[in-house]
């Protein structure tokens, strides 16, 4: 605003100056000098105003642009928790804990066999502070047996600080973690001032002493070894780093530094500097400020760093890439030791302290342990939700804290399972299977919280997220909806009702004939309803679905949580419906949670940079199905895993573990699906090719293998289901449709909605103690 106006006034002045030139020669020189001086002052004044405005804008505005930070779930620690020492180690590694023999300060841990001693770093959660403390954990088998504090008292519940899994960055990819001057350890400030700007508290933005000193040592050394820029000048430089870097900018740097000093106190300038300075590069992400640099290099907050680590950071300012402690550890150590020496020379450190500090190794955490950017598919799910509710600029500048339910331990296992099993399948099938891709989503079956999302075999790839965007026909995964609809009418259907597995031919709306086939191209005649689902017979399902009617089945799908428009074609009965893995998970979530629809959630809450909660995504339930009817379906899905299309899974699990699930295979085996749940987890796996070409895989030979590999590593809880009051179990002779007894030939122990069981008894009275083949259920579920 001020600039154009000022220009105008300048030119009018110079005009008047030129008009006066024709006066006397005597006064010319004096007049000219005076006028030039006036013009000079004017220019300088104008420039000052302009610079002043832009500096203030930078300082007040940009100073606080903090990307939103996304956190994983904090790991809860309590006696009885399903957690192994190995899994704990995975978590602590991601948090940057140091393995030591005897933890003495926050961020250190020792793990020896089944005992872990952790000095936690503490965290300010939106619902309260978790103190930094020393605790001892003991493991027993696959459980955390006890948690006690330093004085041996039991801790009923503690949580570790959450792993940072990413941020939402502004366009320039600058990332920083804000620190307040009061939270910055004094040795860092001392070190910075000692090495970068010894007269910081005395000068007015420029230090002539500093320049002289720098020139002197540069001349002595014959090269540039020391800079004469003050911290204030460096701050100016960093402020404008992203825009032009011209001579003009260079010339303005000093006056701007002076202006900055006029407006702001030393402490304000120092705080801005600490947060602004560039300290490293991680891929596209520029590491700014000491708060983030501390995390980036040491995996822990600034307040928990040792003096030698602080000295290293202070030394980095001079050249983050030249002194990169990861790539040039030798240079970095020399630089750090120089800083320590300066600190000692200036009396901030005693000689013995310096000796101790110099003896320390660099202790920088390996770069691959830095988790940020590690979970692109999960972050993608989180961001999609956030963008519906927040403005992009708020996400990238307000320093919001996004707490998610990502479980890094499960996520790591899901990624490994998908990558390894896919590779194994490709190796096994050779030329017949190439370019196999896949996706895995995992949730807590009882809370609806999404704990892991894998968007492809290369889990680090930031692009196509198959978990959300691979919308593919779900094949037989749709069938539970058909059977659930049937079982919802107990007066018409129970689990042993007969359905016809016979040829189907339906004329569709466009005049074509729909003539589905069974996978084995055989018909099986009248089969029990439960068997038709467990063995995934297409013809039986088509006949059953056509009997029920598409309207009711679509309604069931909606109750299960499908929001997408479901076409009312008969082919929908066999899974021509296309869904993403995440949508499939929503559908099975309702089944796993006994008929209570629980919207899937990846975000738990969002709070401001100051820790105030702005929104919470609460647990929501909506009962969509009678628990009794759902119990029958759960029985049937357990049968699928015990005896049906997915029975191979029990090669990897003990018989006592109850699982439930359904395989899915689409036409020409273009898609291989498995959706299944345990007592605690629900996981959906899709395998297929991006170009939708056929594969040699069925749901069972493909996706199920990934699922089994993953779930066996999760130490799952058995799926224990209460028998609802309106359900009772009976031994039945399903061939004849009669009540039978234990030990009778072909007797099966089956749940019924009360009153829907057969009313007549078979002649067999049973011989207790002799078991039928199919009595796993009575052993494991009914009793």
């Amino acid at each position: 605003m001020a600039k154009p106006k000022a220009k105008k006034s300048t030119s009018s002045k110079s005009k008047s100056a030129s008009s006066k030139r024709s006066n006397t020669k005597k006064s010319t020189w004096r007049g000219l000098f005076f006028k030039l001086f006036l013009v000079g002052c004017l220019c300088a004044g104008v420039l000052l105003i302009y610079l002043d405005a832009s500096i203030r804008q930078q300082f007040e505005g940009k100073r606080w642009a903090i990307p939103a930070k996304v956190y994983a779930r904090p790991l809860e620690l309590y006696s009885g928790q399903a957690l192994t020492a190995v899994d704990l180690k995975t978590e602590l590694t991601q948090l940057g804990y140091r393995m030591v023999t005897s933890p003495k300060q926050p961020g250190e841990v020792s793990i020896w066999k089944n005992r872990a001693v952790i000095f936690t770093q503490g965290f300010r959660f939106s619902d309260g502070d978790e103190p930094s403390r020393l605790m001892t954990l003991t493991f027993s088998g696959q459980q955390l047996a006890s948690v006690v504090d330093a004085s041996g008292r039991a801790i009923s519940l503690a949580r570790l600080e959450p792993v940072v899994i990413g941020g939402i960055y502004p366009a320039n990819n600058e990332d920083r973690e804000l620190v307040q001057l009061s939270d910055v350890p004094q040795p860092l400030i001392d070190a910075l001032i000692s090495v970068e700007d010894r007269d910081f508290y005395e000068h007015h933005g420029l230090s002539f002493k500093g320049i002289a000193r720098a020139m002197w040592s540069n001349i002595r050394a014959g090269q540039i070894v020391q800079g004469g820029s003050t911290l204030t000048q460096q701050l100016i430089k960093n402020f404008f780093l992203t825009s032009e870097r011209s001579l003009w900018r260079k010339l303005l740097e000093a006056p701007m530094a002076v202006l900055l000093e006029l407006h702001y106190s030393k402490d304000e300038i120092l705080e801005a500097y600490l947060n602004e300075v560039y300290l490293g590069q991680s891929g596209a992400r520029a590491i700014h400020g000491f708060g983030l640099a501390s995390q980036y290099y040491f995996g822990r907050p600034l307040a928990n760093l040792r003096t030698d680590q602080l000295a290293l950071l202070a030394g980095l300012v001079k050249g983050p890439s030249y002194y990169d402690p990861r790539r040039h550890p030798k240079r970095a150590k020399q630089r750090r030791d120089l800083v320590l020496k300066l600190l000692t020379d200036q009396g901030h450190l005693s000689q013995s302290q310096a000796t101790v500090a110099m003896a320390k190794p660099l202790s920088v955490v390996p770069k691959q342990r830095i988790v940020k950017g590690a979970y692109p598919a999960y972050l993608d799910v989180v961001k999609r939700q956030l963008r519906q509710e927040y403005r992009e600029e708020d996400l990238s500048s307000e320093g919001l804290k996004i707490y998610t339910s990502l479980d890094p331990i499960v996520q790591a296992k899901a990624e490994t399972s998908l990558a390894q099993v896919s590779q194994g399948l490709e190796n096994h099938h050779g030329a017949k299977l190439k370019q196999l891709e896949g996706a895995v989503v995992v949730s807590h079956s009882q809370t609806g919280e999404v704990v892991a999302v894998v968007g492809g075999r290369d889990a680090r790839y930031q692009g196509f997220n198959r978990a959300v965007d691979a919308v593919r026909p779900i094949g037989s995964l749709v069938k539970p909806a058909v059977y659930l609809t049937a079982l919802s009418s107990p007066e018409k259907y129970n689990l042993i009702s007969k359905v016809n597995d016979e040829a189907v031919s339906v004329k569709t709306e466009n005049g074509e004939l729909w003539q589905p086939n069974n996978f084995d191209h055989k018909t099986h005649g009248p089969v029990a309803l439960h068997e038709a689902l467990a063995k995934s017979y297409n013809l039986a399902t088509a006949n059953l679905g056509l009997d029920i009617g598409m309207g009711d089945i679509i309604h069931t799908l909606q109750q299960l949580g499908i929001e997408r428009n479901v076409p009312p074609y008969p082919s929908t009965l066999l899974g021509s419906l296309s869904l993403s893995p995440l949508e499939v998970m929503q559908m099975y979530q309702t089944i796993a949670a006994n008929g209570f629809e629980t919207p899937l959630r990846s975000i738990r809450s969002v709070s401001t940079a100051q820790g105030e909660e702005v929104s919470a995504y609460r647990l929501q339930l909506e009962q969509q199905f009678d628990p009794g009817v759902m119990h029958l379906l759960q029985y049937n899905l357990q049968e699928t895993v015990r005896e049906g299309t997915a029975k191979s899974v029990y090669r990897r699990f003990p018989e006592s573990l109850k699982l439930a699930g359904k395989t899915g295979t689409t036409n020409d085996q273009r898609d291989s699906w498995f959706a299944g749940f345990t007592g605690d987890y629900l996981a959906v796996v899709w395998l297929g090719r991006d170009d939708n070409q056929p594969t040699p895989l069925t749901g069972s030979s493909g996706a199920l293998q990934v699922w089994a590999d993953l779930v066996s590593g999760l130490h799952p809880l058995s799926f224990e289901s209460q028998v609802p009051a309106n359900v009772s179990y009976h031994w039945v002779d399903e061939a004849q449709g009669l009540i039978s007894a234990e030990g009778c030939e072909g007797a099966r122990y089956v749940p019924f909605i009360n009153g829907s069981e057969p009313q007549e008894r078979s002649s067999c009275s049973g011989s207790p103690g002799i078991r039928g083949i199919k009595d796993w259920f009575s052993r494991l579920f009914g009793e």
Binding site: L206, I211, A254, K413, G713, S718, Q722, P724
Partner: protein
């Protein structure tokens, strides 16, 4: 105009000094060196090859553990207080259809322990102090730890009821009811919250 600008800038003694310093500084600023970093933005996706040592391809043989929330197993004719760990090899009932039915109505070990108990108590305190949001957060924490513990749902239902969210209260009550087994006191408590 000149004066106006000066005053806009700030009339202090500093100004004059600033101008002098400024003019001088423009001359010398080129002399001063600062170190600055290279501005490279190279895509680097290596930053994250987190591998979990826990993952093996060999089949694990997980044993279901016996936390309170994992044991809503049926146990024939037991009282609510009786622990309900039925062994998988326990013999199924072989008598008629009536008896198994009675037997199958599960009893639940509803006594919360340890972490869950601590959270339920914490939520109670928070609710008493009018901190309903914090109480919700605590209860959700409890629900994650023990999703089959009916008391968690009872407290969630009661809290929502207190907050005037009847719909939600009823849903939580229904969920709790589905987990209450044959504990009559619990069933009564849930039914009071339902229409």
């Amino acid at each position: 105009m000149f004066n106006k600008k000066i005053s806009a800038f700030g009339s202090s003694v500093h100004t004059a000094r600033a101008i002098v310093v400024l003019l001088f500084s423009m001359i010398i600023s080129a002399c001063s060196t600062t170190h600055q970093s290279s501005q490279v933005i190279i895509e680097d996706r290596t930053g994250s090859q987190t591998t979990s040592p826990a993952v093996t391809t060999s089949p694990g043989y997980p044993v279901p553990s016996s936390q309170e929330e994992q044991t809503p197993e049926t146990s024939r004719g037991s009282s609510p207080s009786e622990s309900s760990q039925s062994s998988p090899t326990e013999k199924p009932s072989s008598t008629g259809p009536d008896k198994p039915q009675a037997a199958e109505q599960s009893t639940v070990n509803i006594e919360p322990k340890g972490a869950v108990l601590a959270l339920l108590e914490q939520a109670e305190d928070q609710q008493r102090q009018g901190q309903n949001q914090q109480a919700l957060t605590s209860l959700e924490r409890a629900q994650r730890i023990a999703p089959r513990q009916p008391l968690v749902y009872l407290q969630l239902a009661q809290l929502h009821q207190d907050m005037g969210q009847t719909q939600k209260a009823q849903q939580f009550a229904r969920k709790g009811l589905s987990l209450a087994g044959n504990d009559t006191r619990l069933i009564q408590a849930f039914k009071r919250l339902l229409p």
